[in-house]
């Protein structure tokens, strides 16, 4: 989501070429461009002004290092300042208190509070091994409580029932009692969406906060919010002692200016980002990695983590053993690989984190989806068991049969076979040369002007 910002930034500094030193004059135009880029990315104006001021102070008088063009030098300053605003490390939830640890959610209507409660509950249950209970204090929106109940079932956490006639504070008190009796570790409290200027509703959440004394008060904000993010964040942070922010809907193409604004205005860390509709689409937010993503260097660390979490370790082990023993990599193995790719959130999610992808044109990016992978799996499924073990068996008439069975054309089957042969070749090298051989090969492939190198050349 932050890619268009970086595209714009790197595009507007071309004219700085050939200067040996950054002066107030020669960066004025560029700073104006940076300002417009930030505004177009929906960063709130007060934040933009503060950022520009800081960039100016730091940039003026800087010698341009030999390895950098003046434009790159300025981008470096901008990046450093962006990183400074975003903070440098991921801040985890603080659940360090006598159980139940109470977490209160607050935000505008439609920010995604209820969905986020469910995702967070799942995150705490699965990754932190906590016993989690959720409760809804949204007594206003029709069916809000039912929504949380359904989601709680989906993510398999306890749900404390409430009704629209109850008082939010009374609901919260009852939920805390219930949580204590059932030895719950974390109680997540969902609240109604409210406008920051709605005095009655703000008084209500203040009262709720005072009554439950939460260890975490999280402000949920839509990544697509415009300039108003600054006003809203300010009002909420004045009314409530916020401890963190959750940014939702980051899987869209919003430029994410709201993240900067909210972080800057509240001074509170962004702890998680919501990145999809499924209950597992919640990621801890790593500002340092994000800054690299802004500059097209990719978020390889997150990718590695994602792979670790989702790869079926048993299957991977089996495959490794098989390869080492010198047995062939067959179609069954290929299907396992494809399925694991899908379980990691699909190609688009993986691509998003790879270096250099941000420089691809949008049309190309939009064409990358998982359809192709699903089709490949369908083709493999249409083969007989014997064919899957021995792909060499596939002659013309078998290919036609497989194509028919999977609803594809024979050339699609050929395409798949070609990809299989490439993978097989790589795997057989792996078995002969071991891991080292593979590493050497990969190094060769990446060194020759890979995507990561592109940015630096510019």
């Amino acid at each position: 989501m932050f890619e268009s910002l970086s595209q714009r930034l790197s595009g507007t500094i071309e004219r700085l070429r050939g200067r040996a030193r950054l002066t107030e004059e020669n960066i004025r135009e560029s700073l104006r461009d940076v300002r417009i880029a930030l505004l177009e990315a929906d960063v709130a104006l007060p934040v933009v002004q503060a950022l520009i001021q800081r960039v100016k102070v730091r940039a003026v008088g800087q010698d341009v290092l030999k390895s950098l063009t003046p434009g790159q030098a300025l981008v470096k300053v901008v990046r450093d300042e962006l990183t400074a605003v975003m903070g440098s490390v991921n801040t985890d939830l603080n659940l360090n208190c006598p159980a139940p640890a109470v977490v209160l959610m607050a935000g505008l209507q439609g920010a995604g509070k209820t969905t986020t409660v469910a995702k967070l509950a799942r995150f705490l249950r699965e990754r932190k091994k906590k016993k989690v209970m959720v409760v809804s204090c949204d007594v206003y929106r029709p069916a809000a409580i039912e929504q949380l109940q359904t989601l709680a079932q989906q993510v398999e956490v306890l749900f404390f029932p409430s009704t629209g006639e109850q008082d939010p504070v009374a609901i919260a008190h009852a939920a805390i009692d219930a949580a204590r009796k059932q030895y719950v570790d974390v109680l997540l409290i969902d609240t109604a969406g409210r406008l920051a200027i709605d005095a009655a509703m703000m008084a209500e959440i203040k009262a709720l906060h005072a009554a439950v004394n939460p260890i975490e008060t999280l402000f949920v904000v839509d990544a697509m919010t415009g300039q108003d993010a600054a006003n809203t964040a300010k009002a909420f942070s004045e009314a409530l002692p916020l401890t963190g922010v959750i940014l939702t809907k980051t899987d869209g193409d919003a430029r994410g200016g709201a993240a900067l604004s909210v972080r800057y205005i509240t001074g509170r860390p962004i702890k998680f980002i919501g990145s999809g509709e499924k209950p597992d689409a919640l990621e801890p937010f790593h500002p340092d990695r994000l800054a690299q993503r802004i500059l097209g260097m990719g978020d390889v660390l997150s990718l590695v983590e994602q792979v670790e979490q989702n790869v079926d370790k048993e299957k991977a082990q089996k495959l490794a053993e098989k390869i080492v023993k010198g047995k062939r990599f067959d179609m069954n193995d290929m299907r396992d690989q494809l399925q694991q790719m899908l379980s990691m959130g699909g190609l688009a999610s993986l691509m998003d984190k790879l270096p250099g992808v941000s420089n691809l044109p949008d049309q190309v990016k939009s064409r990358i989806n998982d359809k192709e992978v699903h089709r490949m799996i369908a083709v493999i499924n249409s083969m007989t068991k014997k064919e899957r073990r021995h792909p060499d068996l596939l002659n013309g008439s078998r290919k036609v049969r497989v194509a028919k069975g999977s609803g594809m054309q024979p050339q699609d089957v050929n395409k798949l076979l070609k990809q299989y042969q490439q993978m097989e070749k790589m795997m057989s090298k792996l078995s002969s040369g071991g891991i080292k051989g593979l590493m050497r090969q990969m190094k060769g492939a990446m060194g020759g002007g890979g995507a990561g190198g592109n940015f630096m050349q510019r």
Binding site: D42, L45, A111, A144, Q147, D222, D228
Partner: protein, 378 residues
Amino acid sequence: MFKFWKKDRAPEKTPAADAASETSENVVEILPREVMQSPSLSVPADHAEVDAAIAPDSVAVEKVDGSEIDNPGKRSWRERLSGSALSRSLGSLFARKPKLDETLLDDLETALLTADVGVSATELLLENLRQRMRKREFADADGLLAALRESLLAMLAPIAVPLRIPTDIKPFVVLVVGVNGVGKTTTIGKLARRHQQEGRQVLLAAGDTFRAAAVEQLKAWGMRNQVAVISQGSGADSASVIFDALQAATSRNVDLLIADTAGRLHTQSGLMDELSKIKRVLAKLDPAAPHEVLLVIDGTTGQNAVNQVRQFSLAAGVTGLVVTKLDGTAKGGVVFALATEFALPIRYVGLGEGLDDLREFDPGAFVTGLLPANLGAE
């Protein structure tokens, strides 16, 4: 905008609201503004700080329990919008009786950008003003303000085309689409009520089969309005629900069918294809259906709204817009960016959570709310 605050204090209020609006913070905030409105006093030029301080606006004390607020003096557009950031910053700007120079234009640029008007629309407006200023068309800052008002109006005038439902089309099918959390279902509840009050027989289709309890939410709105809702429960195929609903609408001879859909981000091509499918399926029953595709846009959204309109138009052929949540501190300046980029009419705006808070878009009132004609003269 100030008068309204006083007026609001006179009638009886809920104790909670009273307590909130009596906080010393509010009183302190109000003072500097009063000073600024009077031209005889000179004011410290630091308007930005004052702007930032005015966050809680006591205007918006309203119960949101969803029950109808039968308040005879319904708040007007102007009252609701006049607390906006744009109008506030412009108010303080012009109260200083500024000189006609580049600084003034820069300040105007800042004000427009802060209201989410967007860089290109702002540049368009300012370039026009700058040229006319060079030709010495304006006697003073007020003349320039009037010209800005005119250009804003001129931008909105062509897109203020209200939704008219012809009597010869029966049922008239409205498909409501948008990203997650913009207020589609709430808007449908309000739309149903509006058209029911205008004497039409309305039927709703619960096409959001994805989000938990979305069907229940629409049913709750239907109960409040006594409008029938066609649903198949969650997990069903959205196109099939809406197809059923159109069949039901035809056989029951209703005037208006409003179909809900699940919120979807415009970047998810699979989900966007689903919208095209809904349209295709509807066309099997009635080649002209849906007669109106309403895209709901959250008024707090920034420039991303432009991408939303573009993508939804491609997938679902949007024919009209609804801008919601304009009762907050964001005032939907992105409307201007949309007006310059697309010529899609704005059918309705959402100004609150009450059943009657959906209004037809009125550019005059919208601009007046943002930019009162007598601003700075008071």
